[in-house]
């Protein structure tokens, strides 16, 4: 016998069980007497004391339901009889027997391990594990900030992600401890965190955490635990009551300043309306959510598909939310979603357009290392954006620069094959949030091997670590007198200008920035041009840096290498290897007089240097190379990142650098070929890029 049948028998006796729930609820009336309740002891009947204590809340809950719905007639009948307790039981029985509703939540962790830990109040958030202390009431301290005293910990705790683990663990094992723990936590959380009914930033009722509960956890928990004896009627009713507070906060006290928070919050309203359509206002909530999400998506994303925060991680967050939102709306029969669907295609085009050959995205601004290719497959992105389809497209086999004019980012790739050389140049706006000082930063990959990387985000806690990861020192940049280039605007309404050129087998992109003026010395801004030339035959990338400055100015270049690379100094550059295999050779061709590299790895004092954070809270030592120079006047440096996977090594004695004013002629000789590059100027781009095979093939 299923859970519904069991409850049916407990409440009304076997004779009623064969009939439908309407018949059953007719029989609820006698339950109002204490003797009737004692006789049945139904698992879905809340205690009299509970009902008495929460009379107002439960009254509000029941009055907010659409009691004209035929499937809630039993509730309305019990209410008409003035029997609140029976009405509550009827409502819970309805939820236990109703068909499942569309929910988007999934759980990504190890269900049993996480659930067992949650039983002991031990949680893992963002790579950190800790046991939550208890408050004086005996329940959890819902505001404690975890082992690292990080507010993110308290936020994650109040998102209730572990509810999903507990619910799914109950489903997998039938062990009622998991369901009972959910009940305990819900009762504790609702009593410890009364709804403040105002804009607030407490961990429990911050709008984003409220939205995350509705989007990721509560619907899944609610639906999964319906047949769980340990999921008590009191916990169920408190959860339902709290949903009304959630809806109120998400509508009236959301993150009015916008950003990904607001989008998540409005998407959550749609999820709430669809998961609990019995509320009288559910239809209005859904209409409201569609209007607001459409308005916000169009406002918060550029026409080229980039989310305005310009971070890979939050592009993902918004895209996943939007995908989830559209699926929910479609499942509820809504078809007025054309604008949103069109913008989502552009978002996919951007997101997959910046993808590296290994499927990951660059860590622009505050981002984690996430696999775009896997996400695109999992969420069934439009087929033309799947990497495998692109690799099979002859039109995309040639080297190309994809320029996203509003994001101000250029991606150079030799092809869509997994062995492609890939480079990413960031010359766009600063971003509307989660910004890093990364103007003209670049990333580089040779096939599956990442070479130059952005160090990531690691933390939001103020201090030297945040300064490092957010500041220019963790990016692949030039600094002039210790200053990074002037940042772009927070957002833009006009497309950025990046010069792109493409020739036979090569592609080129150029962007410009300026270093700040020095008024005390009467000096104006100094121009910095950075050009990227992707060479034929996947043989590498040349980064041209033209700095137009005068006087005793100190120029510094910082290159951050992937943590898997082992870096060594060479006579005129660097070499990198991974697992004993040559990964990259760097040859510096310049008239700036660069010093030999200083290599730093995993340094904490005197300043933080040489780190890479693939995810929030996780960091690994990774080599960072510093070069310094004091050029006499304008200088052009060619950083030649050679790909030794082409089975040739640089012969620097045969390589040359000839500069006349703005024009540059470079020759790079390797053990197999000679590559000649002629640039009339960085602005004009290459006039000749030739590769001559020496000594036969």
């Amino acid at each position: 016998m299923g859970g519904a049948g069991m409850v049916c028998m407990l409440i009304a006796g076997p004779a009623v069980c064969a009939s439908d729930s309407t018949t059953l609820l007719t029989s609820l009336k006698p339950l109002s007497s204490e003797s009737g309740l004692r006789a049945t002891e139904s698992k879905l009947i809340p205690s009299a004391a509970f009902v008495e204590h929460h009379r107002d809340q439960l009254g509000s809950l029941l009055s907010s339901l659409d009691l004209t719905r035929p499937d809630l007639s039993s509730v309305s009948r019990a209410l008409a009889d003035g029997d609140l307790r029976s009405a509550c039981a009827a409502l819970l029985l309805y939820y236990q027997t109703r068909p499942s509703v569309p929910i988007q939540a999934k759980y990504g962790g190890d269900i049993i391990v996480d659930a067992e830990a949650a039983l002991l109040n031990t949680f893992s958030f963002q790579g950190v594990k800790g046991t939550q202390p208890t408050a004086s009431t005996g329940g959890l301290d819902w505001e404690a900030r975890g082992p690292r005293d990080d507010p993110e910990w308290a936020w994650m705790l109040n998102r209730h992600g572990y509810f999903s683990a507990l619910a799914l663990a109950w489903k997998q094992t039938g062990d009622d401890r998991f369901a009972a723990k959910v009940s305990t936590l819900i009762i504790d959380w609702t009593s410890a965190n009364p709804y403040p009914k105002r804009l607030n930033f407490s961990p429990s009722w911050r709008a984003l955490e409220t939205a995350r509960r509705v989007l990721d956890t509560w619907p899944l928990t609610w639906q999964t635990l319906q047949d769980a004896p340990g999921f008590t009627p009191e916990a169920r009713l408190l959860m339902l009551c709290s949903l009304l507070d959630h809806a109120d906060l998400l509508q009236h006290y959301s993150s009015f300043w916008g950003g990904n928070h607001l989008l998540t919050e409005k998407t959550a309203i749609a999820q709430l309306a669809i998961a609990w359509p019995e509320f009288r206002d559910s239809r209005a909530w859904l209409d409201y959510a569609i209007d607001k999400v459409e308005e916000e998506i169009l406002e918060q994303t550029y026409e080229d598909g980039a989310y305005k925060e310009l971070t890979d991680h939050y592009q993902r967050v918004v895209l996943v939310n939007l995908d989830s939102f559209l699926n929910l709306c479609r499942s509820s029969g809504r078809d007025d979603l054309g604008k949103l669907e069109a913008r989502m295609r552009r978002m996919w085009a951007y997101y997959t357009g910046i993808m590296q050959p290994n499927g990951h995205g660059p860590l622009t601004n505050a981002a984690d290392r996430e696999n775009i290719a896997e996400l695109a497959t999992a969420l069934q992105a439009p087929e033309e954006y799947l990497q495998v389809n692109r690799a099979a497209n002859p039109a995309l086999e040639q080297p190309q620069t994809t320029f996203f004019p509003y994001a101000g980012q250029a991606v150079l790739r030799s092809s869509w094959y997994s062995s492609a050389v890939w480079a990413f140049l960031d010359a766009g706006p600063y971003g509307t949030a989660h910004q890093h000082e990364d103007r003209l930063h670049l990333d580089l990959s040779f096939g599956q091997q990442e070479i130059l990387v952005d160090a990531g985000r690691y933390t939001y806690q103020p201090g030297p670590w945040l300064d490092y990861f957010k500041g220019p020192h963790s990016h692949n940049l030039l600094l002039l007198d210790g200053n990074c280039a002037i940042r772009g605007p927070y957002s833009t309404k006009t497309p950025a200008t990046i010069t792109t050129r493409t020739g036979t087998g090569w592609t080129y992109a150029l962007a410009e920035a300026a270093f700040p003026a020095n008024p005390a010395r009467g000096l104006g801004q100094s121009t910095w041009r950075r050009g990227l030339l992707l060479l034929p035959n996947e043989s590498g990338l040349i980064v041209f840096d033209e700095v137009i400055g005068y006087g005793n100015r100190e120029l510094e270049a910082r290159w951050h290498f992937a943590p898997s690379l082992s870096i060594k100094r060479t006579a005129n550059g660097l070499s990198a290897s991974a697992n004993g295999q040559a990964g990259m050779e760097l040859l510096i061709l310049s008239d700036a007089g660069w010093s030999p590299a200083t290599l730093l790895k995993g340094q904490e004092t005197p300043e933080v240097a040489g780190w890479y954070a693939p995810n929030y809270n996780i960091k690994h030592p990774a080599t960072e190379a510093h070069f310094t120079a004091a050029p006499a006047g304008p200088s052009i440096t060619a950083w030649w990142f050679h790909n030794p996977a082409k089975r040739s090594n640089i012969n620097e004695y045969l390589s040359s650098y000839i500069r006349q004013g703005e024009s540059l002629t470079l020759v790079l000789a390797t053990t197999r070929n000679t590559c000649t590059v002629v640039l009339p100027s960085l602005e004009k781009g290459p006039s000749e890029v030739s590769v001559e095979i020496r000594g036969g093939k």
Binding site: R521, G522, L523, G549, Y550, N552, G633, P634
Partner: protein
Amino acid sequence: MTVRAILAIRLLGLALFILGTWLLVANLFETIRQFDPTYAWYYFQNQLLRPVLAMGLGCILLLFSKPLGKFMARELEQK
């Protein structure tokens, strides 16, 4: 009062002119050997523009100190 205003403006103008001239000479002295005609505009913008602007503003203040001084002190004189 007008006389004092004129004097103050002339002092400011002179200071700006001297500062601009000093910066111009210093920048030229330090970097003239790095001048490259290819980057002439950048050289002007980076090294000369701000000192020249300071000198120009100083000259303007010196030249128009009388009418400016009268204008600035007009209300005080009326009292």
